[in-house]
């Protein structure tokens, strides 16, 4: 058994190394040798291979993501931009909010429960590492066909994992999405978002500065979780008497995470850390190299001091382990004692594993022998960057030419009624309460709005009633038809949802889920979507503060629909002014805001009735979105509207159905002049919302819309116990409720 020390590596330059098995390309391995001026040790090779992976280095996406910085709109609210664990925005009254969305797609397919659970755990630690108290989570989810047997395996596991972990952490789950499409069959998208709140002065950054400061690893013990790939190294370096298999699946312990959160917040309150980083993908390799790289560069770590759950782990494996519920802090020497005392109070294991040093090298020792000696920037930030070739797919024109507006439409009112009922009962449009009722939305006692509202909203100050709202949206069908527009539509919808709740949209996080970057078609989709999103963020004045890219989402040669999921964060000065979606007061007037055109490409109707995907997605008018948002926010603040619901997939009738069922009241609708009932009810034109206006406010409201040039059409009244479309059909609320609410339990319960 030989330990591959730096000295040993220098003396054995020609030793064969398993760089290929670790996923490195030949030129990447050559570059590592060039950086070090020798061959890497096993531990160094492990660190470089995992940190230079697509997942950690963003090597394929980096060149496109730069636009988010280059095109970032001027925004005074932005306190910390892209590049940190999560962006931070100013929400007023001395508060700052940090938020981010991440993916945990592949692990959730392999082991749905633990994959989804550790996805929640990871994003929560990201937010915590910024110095913030996590206050809410959201979960945008996408699964394969609802009636496919594997969906019955994946979905209940994912939902139970999110609930099992999130509920136990005590974070309200206030939003997200559940979408079904067979393109996600072998590749579900499990994205998770988290919002955290702090005071401006409490922002913490992931950097190790101040030579002599201690490096403390705290939280769960380190085990062999998620290091399947690195075992190849272990078996090379060590004899074969060790357990042959390391678990590829990380297992989460939400109780440990809850203790870690409370412990860390107490440590923040006493101002005991100089820098902090959570341990996620790539574990200690990532945390040590990133902390050192962002600081002055020097760090010395005694790896044998790490508390282990499995004493047989090799140093390479300890560096790679993705054991959950761990954090790494940089602490001034005179504060170490207090730091450790707080950890003891919360039953959290904490160990001083090293210190910040003069110089610019990250050095790692194993029982006194040096096994890593690298410039940390080369590991953490100076990985390879690829300009992957991309080209508009050959099939894109044909797809767009297959116009959904030409599909056969319902012949009469009876058929239209039947199609509307099919729509609201379809898995994508049906009530997701069976799923979301498995998540705690009340804990912490600050939840103002949660699903099925347009946006989730939590109060962050009990005295002033300051609150934040968040919505996440994405439509892979739109993005497949036109990735540039599709990404903009995702942003526009989330932005509109936040505004419909009464909050002012401030900033954006995104989770970009795509297929293989080695496929030029996919790379074109990625390039177009990022360009579209960056352009739209610039126009709407909402900067991207951070996010996540998930590539290689495909089964064999078939990629998922390009699926940019966009989260918009908003602020509301007084949560008591929030606007719910429910039509709750009889006699209130319903107004449709915005323009309705014949736009059915990628629509829910085309999917449900014709199983069709073709044509162009709805047109985007960002200036209109901005105006609509301003009107919705003003009307909410000044008490001119009692309900608002954004119009998106499923069109007006879907929104009206949801608002009626939520409020337990019916609606009588009149088809406006110039529109046919079908287009009125089912078109998915963007930039629209439906609002309920008290009669006493009607004049004030329509005057405001008129003065600012927003089309506002009176389309009906809240009334009765059915959704009636005058001259066409009526659907009693009971029938509507049964159609809308029985689908998901029928498929899954």
């Amino acid at each position: 058994m030989t330990l591959d020390t730096v000295k040993h590596a220098s003396g054995t330059p020609d030793a064969e190394q398993p760089w290929r098995e670790l996923g490195l390309k030949e030129d990447e391995y050559a570059r590592i040798r060039e950086i070090l001026g020798r061959r890497p040790t096993g531990a160094e090779l492990a660190m470089y291979s995992v940190m230079w992976s697509e997942h950690c280095s963003y090597k394929s996406s980096k060149v496109h993501l730069r636009q988010f910085g280059e095109k970032a709109p001027e925004n005074d609210a932005l306190l910390v931009g892209i590049g940190e664990n999560a962006g931070v925005v100013d929400v007023g009254q001395g508060y700052a909010v940090t938020f981010k969305v991440e993916s945990h797609n592949h692990p959730s397919y392999i082991e749905p429960y633990q994959g989804a659970a550790t996805g929640v755990g990871g994003i929560v630690r990201d937010i915590l590492a910024m110095g913030a108290r996590p206050v809410a989570v959201v979960d945008p989810l996408r699964f394969g066909a609802p009636d496919h047997p594997d969906t019955r395996r994946v979905l209940p596991g994912v939902v139970a994992g999110i609930g099992g972990y999130g509920n136990c952490l005590g974070l309200p789950n206030i939003g997200g999405e559940v979408v079904f499409d067979s393109c996600y069959q072998g590749n579900p998208l499990v994205n998770a978002g988290c919002i955290g709140v702090m005071k401006h002065e409490d922002i913490h950054l992931a950097k190790a500065s101040g030579p002599g400061n201690k490096v403390i690893l705290y939280g769960a013990r380190t085990g062999g979780d998620g290091i399947g790939g690195v075992s190849v190294l272990a078996s090379e370096t060590f004899d074969d008497s060790k357990p042959a298999k390391r678990p590829a699946v990380q297992v989460g312990d939400p109780f440990q995470e809850k203790l870690l959160i409370e412990c860390t917040l107490e440590i923040f309150r006493e101002k005991l850390v100089a820098g902090i980083q959570d341990l996620g993908g790539a574990g200690l390799s990532c945390a040590t190299s990133e902390l050192a790289s962002a600081g002055s560069g020097g760090m010395r770590v005694e790896l044998d001091r790490v508390h282990l759950r499995d004493a047989t782990l090799s140093p390479e494996e300890i560096l790679m382990s993705e054991s959950q519920e761990r954090m790494c802090a940089i602490v001034e020497p005179d504060k170490v004692e207090r730091f450790l005392a707080i950890c003891e109070k919360w039953d959290v294991i904490a160990t001083v594993i090293g210190e910040v040093t003069e110089g610019e090298r990250l050095e790692i020792y194993w029982h006194g022998e040096q096994i890593v000696d690298v410039p940390p920037r080369t590991v953490a930030h100076e990985g390879p960057v690829y300009e992957r070739p991309y080209a508009r797919p050959s099939w894109q024109d044909a797809l767009q030419a297959d116009d959904a507006n030409a599909l056969p439409r319902p012949a009469d009112a009876e058929e239209l009624r039947a199609q509307v009922l099919r729509l609201v009962a379809s898995p994508n449009q049906a009530s997701k309460a069976w799923i979301t009722d498995q998540y705690d939305r009340f804990v912490q006692g600050n939840t103002v709005l949660a699903q099925p509202e347009d946006a989730g909203m939590v109060r962050i100050d009990e005295e002033s009633n300051l609150g934040v709202a968040m919505a996440t949206d994405g439509n892979g069908r739109y993005a497949k038809l036109d990735p540039y527009t599709g990404a903009q539509l995702a942003l526009a919808e989330a932005y509109r949802n936040v505004a419909a709740s009464g909050a002012r949209p401030l900033a954006v996080s995104d989770c970009l889920n795509f297929g293989s970057p080695e496929d030029p078609d996919v790379m074109w989709q990625f390039a177009e979507a990022t360009r579209g999103l960056a352009d739209a963020c610039q126009t709407l004045g909402t900067p991207v503060t951070g996010g996540n890219v998930s590539l290689y989402n495909q089964t064999g040669e078939t990629a998922i629909h390009p699926t940019p999921v966009v989260a918009v964060l908003g602020v509301i000065d007084d949560v008591t002014r929030r606007t719910p979606i429910a039509f709750a007061e009889e006699g209130q007037l319903l107004y449709l805001l915005g323009d309705t055109r014949e736009e059915f490409g990628g629509s829910a109707w085309s999917q449900v009735v014709h199983d069709h995907l073709g044509g162009l997605p709805p047109a985007v008018d960002l200036d209109r979105e901005r105006l609509l948002a301003e009107i919705l926010i003003s009307a909410s603040r000044d008490g001119m509207i009692d309900a608002a619901h954004d119009l998106s997939d499923g069109g007006l009738v879907q929104a009206v159905a949801e608002s009626c069922l939520r409020g337990g009241k019916g609606a009588r609708l009149v088809v406006p002049d110039g529109l046919d009932a079908f287009t009125f009810l089912l078109s998915e034109s963007a930039g629209r919302a439906v609002v309920a206006v008290p009669r006493s406010e009607e004049l004030r409201f329509t005057d405001m819309c008129g003065a600012r040039g927003l089309p506002a059409t009176r389309i009906g009244v809240v009334d009765g116990d059915a959704v009636e479309v005058q001259g066409a059909f009526g659907i009693p609320l009971d029938e509507l409720r049964a159609a809308h609410e029985e689908t998901i339990p029928g498929l899954l319960a």
């Binding site: 109780f255 309460a433 009722d437 939305r441 006692g445 103002v448 009990e462 609410e741």
Partner: protein, 235 residues
């Protein structure tokens, strides 16, 4: 002098801040208590809040029940100190044998979070005096192990002595919060001890004390005003 009501934080307690807030909203002084501390800091009553203390590992409430703070609480509760156990707190009270019965995994095996209709069956306990007998209230419910169970004799005894404090309200739409959400025997949502000072229930009154937050109702506030009135009139 205003009354002091303590709220215990165990490792993994989640709704302690909410319970402290509810105590304050009702007008009492909220006192945080720590599981390792035997001292109750002169509180007049104690709330055991919801959550997943010790991750619900072993059984919900089973490990917390042996914590130092519980030794004092068990002793004083037997002497008449009012104790309210909400959700995980109720589970701890049954594990500590301050209340009879036990809580099992929900019959549908899922965590459930919803607005729940409850009927107040006993408005004479320390924690329910501000309600009317038979009054229907709506408060959030959220649990994994909420199925109340006890043997037939215990159940008959509870009924005969009027110690069923709350029942899940039957009839009406499940979407509106009616019905038994977890398979609890005899629709029992909460019970009291014979003296009426110890009450436990699965639903969360502390989440329904402010308009617009949580369910948007204030039906849960009565628990905290009930105890406050009782403590003030006793002092």
């Amino acid at each position: 002098m205003t009354s002091r009501i303590g709220v215990v934080t165990f490792p993994g307690t989640l709704d302690d801040q909410d319970a402290l807030r509810a105590v304050r909203v009702a007008g009492a002084e909220a006192v945080p208590l720590w599981h390792r501390d035997r001292d109750l800091h002169q509180v007049d009553a104690v709330v055991l809040a919801g959550g997943f203390s010790y991750g619900d590992y072993l059984r919900a409430g089973a490990i917390s029940r042996f914590s130092p703070v519980m030794e004092t609480i068990i002793e004083q509760a037997k002497g008449g100190m009012p104790v309210l156990g909400i959700c995980n707190g109720f589970q701890i009270l049954t594990e500590a044998h301050l209340l009879p019965g036990a809580m099992l995994r929900n019959n549908h095996l899922h965590f459930i979070c919803r607005d729940q209709r409850l009927t107040v069956e006993n408005a004479a306990t320390a924690w329910t005096a501000d309600y009317e007998q038979g009054q229907e209230i709506s408060v959030p419910l959220k649990n994994m192990d909420g199925r109340y169970t006890a043997d037939e004799r215990t159940l008959d005894e509870l009924e005969a002595e009027g110690r069923v404090a709350f029942r899940y309200t039957a009839g009406g739409n499940a979407a509106d919060g009616y019905g038994n959400p977890n398979g609890s025997l005899r629709d029992i949502a909460g019970i009291t001890n014979a003296a009426g000072n110890v009450v436990g229930l699965m639903p969360h009154p502390e989440h329904a004390v402010e308009p617009l937050i949580g369910t948007g109702g204030t039906d849960g506030l009565g628990f905290f005003t009930s105890i406050l009135k009782k403590l003030v009139s006793a002092s």
